[in-house]
Amino acid sequence: MSKELIRLKDVSMKFDGDTILDNINLYFNDKEFLTLLGPSGCGKTTTLRIVGGFLVPTSGDVLFDGVRINDVPPNKRQVNTVFQKYALFPHLNVFDNIAFGLRIQKVAKPEITKRVQEMLEVVSLKGFDHRSVTSLSGGQQQRVAIARALVNNPKVLLLDEPLGALDMRLRKDMQQELKRIQREMEITFIYVTHDQEEALAMSDTVVVMDGGRIQQIGTPKDIYNEPKNAFVADFIGESNIVDGIMRSDGVVEIFNRKFRCLDSGFAPDEAVDVVIRPEDVDIVPESEGQLKGTVTQVTFKGMQYDIIVDFYGFKWLIQTTDFCPEGSKIGIKIDPDGFHVMKKSHYSGMFGDYSSYSEEYDEISDAESEAEE
């Protein structure tokens, strides 16, 4: 689990003077499921294509097992890719698509048949050998694309938004499938997505990117619970981010009130960003609240209500199972572990305010625009 396999060292990428990747340093461990997560244009696909050999970085090194492979073409790398829109060969059937790589390697016929059949079983497509790929559903095509890559026994499988074109239910199923396949095959998956739920559900390691830079690397739990800056806090899940002052270790001040928190290691009276997740807020009667506000909007979400509450002109998103009608005055309580304190960054003040809240929050679908990157 811990052996390092691929390393990107000071990798930068420029197209026509635009910096797409800005000094990326990143390593990929053997047998880990690593996700590159970020919004459209953050450089995640470019990073993947550099690992795949489709792009040569403007500067910096790509190391595979310690050997520099910048100029090694894709066909000579121990890496296979599952492309965004599958890129299956329309003139070949399911069997021949999967056998494609093995035939190039001139593997003996009986072995090809054996390995393709094994793969069909892994991706649950037994008996589909002779079907035309164009007659398959999106989910089935996806499985063929995965089998076509995996049959070559790559050390690393690169997946570029592989579930982007599938509907919600199928996506969830395929997430489970991919995780299972990764464990069974015991290889490294490098997965690119803009869908934070997908990233959290599947990954061992998540790399959050924005503006061609790595914002944070960590386990899904770290990323969610300990975001490093306002961008990460906002991109992963929902966050209320307010200005605060760290009065001392374990004491943070927001809205001129001091709260107990678990964070420490800041300079006395350092200005900070404070993240409060919508689900970490308890609603109490107004008189018992640490903070008091007015409900301005209520949305029924099935499992919970999303309510927008106005605190002294700053709007928060709170998720609650208690119904609070619009216009009602409520109090809130936040436990010490409900606060997460972050250093100020250039993202401070850009995120975490729900004044312009809409019900469609964070439903980003940028698979299309990303494809041209």
């Binding site: 060969f89 059937n93 190039i104």
Partner: protein
């Protein structure tokens, strides 16, 4: 509702139907009608049979069959050369930048805007014994070559005239091809040549078929190029038809045109069938 809609369709189709009937069906009917009748318009197979049986009085060879096979030979040679030149050109075009693609497209189209006869005359001045080509060859200190009036000259003319009809259909198929397929092939271990052979070539077969059709058919029935660049020394089937027509032998001219059409249709159907089946088998074998 649907009745009104279909009536609308019928009305919109009307002008085209009339056009198609007047300019496609009626002429075809008359070709067939003339082919199977004699001068007093009685049914006869004589014209058809004459094509297959007429022999030269001196040599005893079958005149029209010989002409037909010569036409076929030159047309096939021209088509193959067009394909060998046009396919790489189309591929290079799709790989070039947007600006370069546009420029290449214009360069290919420009000759098509010029009159066919003028283009052929231009080649006469190039290929003559004292023409531009030989001038160039001699300036290099080499012996001049005699090319005008040979089959080679006719092939050069046909390739020049019909090359765009090979390039454009192949280019349009290649331009639509998903470049990710090439990347996928690279990813799965193909070198450049293998990508071409295993992905690009099989996927461009429809374009190749269209190109071959569009070059083979006009070049098999061409008559002007052979007269000018071949110095009228060898007759092609188009020349034979024209000759019979000019000398007012309409029924035999129609019979030759009819036979040529049937043979071409059969050939195209066969090619389509064979390539279609080959693809299917290629896909199904394990």
């Amino acid at each position: 509702m649907s009745g009104a809609k279909s009536r609308r369709t019928a009305v919109l189709l009307g002008p085209y139907s009339v056009w198609a009937a007047l300019f496609i069906l009626v002429p075809l009917f008359f070709v067939a009608y003339y082919a199977f009748t004699d001068n007093s318009f009685n049914f006869t197979l004589d014209n058809i049979l004459k094509f297959f049986t007429e022999q030269s009085r001196e040599t005893g060879s079958r005149i029209y069959l010989d002409i037909f096979f010569r036409s076929l030979k030159l047309a096939v040679i021209s088509t193959v050369i067009c394909l060998l030149m046009g396919y790489p050109l189309a591929y290079i075009m799709t790989r070039a930048g947007e600006r370069a693609q546009k420029i290449m497209m214009v360069l290919i189209m420009i000759p098509m805007w010029m009159n066919f006869l003028i283009r052929t005359y231009a080649w006469m001045t190039i290929l003559q014994d004292t023409g531009i080509l030989n001038g160039f060859i001699q300036s290099l200190g080499l012996q001049p070559i005699h090319i005008i009036g040979t089959e080679s000259a006719v092939v050069v003319g046909m390739v020049y005239d019909y090359l765009p009809y090979m390039v454009l259909p192949i280019y349009s198929v290649m331009a639509k091809m998903d470049y990710k397929l090439v990347e996928a092939a690279r990813d799965l271990g193909c070198n450049g040549l293998q990508v071409l052979r295993r992905v690009i070539l099989p996927l461009s077969i429809p374009g190749i078929l269209n190109g071959v059709t569009m070059v083979l058919i006009p070049s098999i029935s061409t008559f002007y190029i052979s007269q000018k660049l071949g110095n009228g020394k060898f007759f092609l089937i188009g020349d034979a038809i024209e000759g019979q027509y000019v000398s007012n032998n309409l029924h035999f001219a129609a019979a030759m045109a009819f036979i040529l059409m049937v043979i071409l249709l059969a050939a195209m159907a066969l090619i389509k069938y064979l390539t279609g089946r080959r693809e299917y088998e290629g896909g199904a074998k394990a």
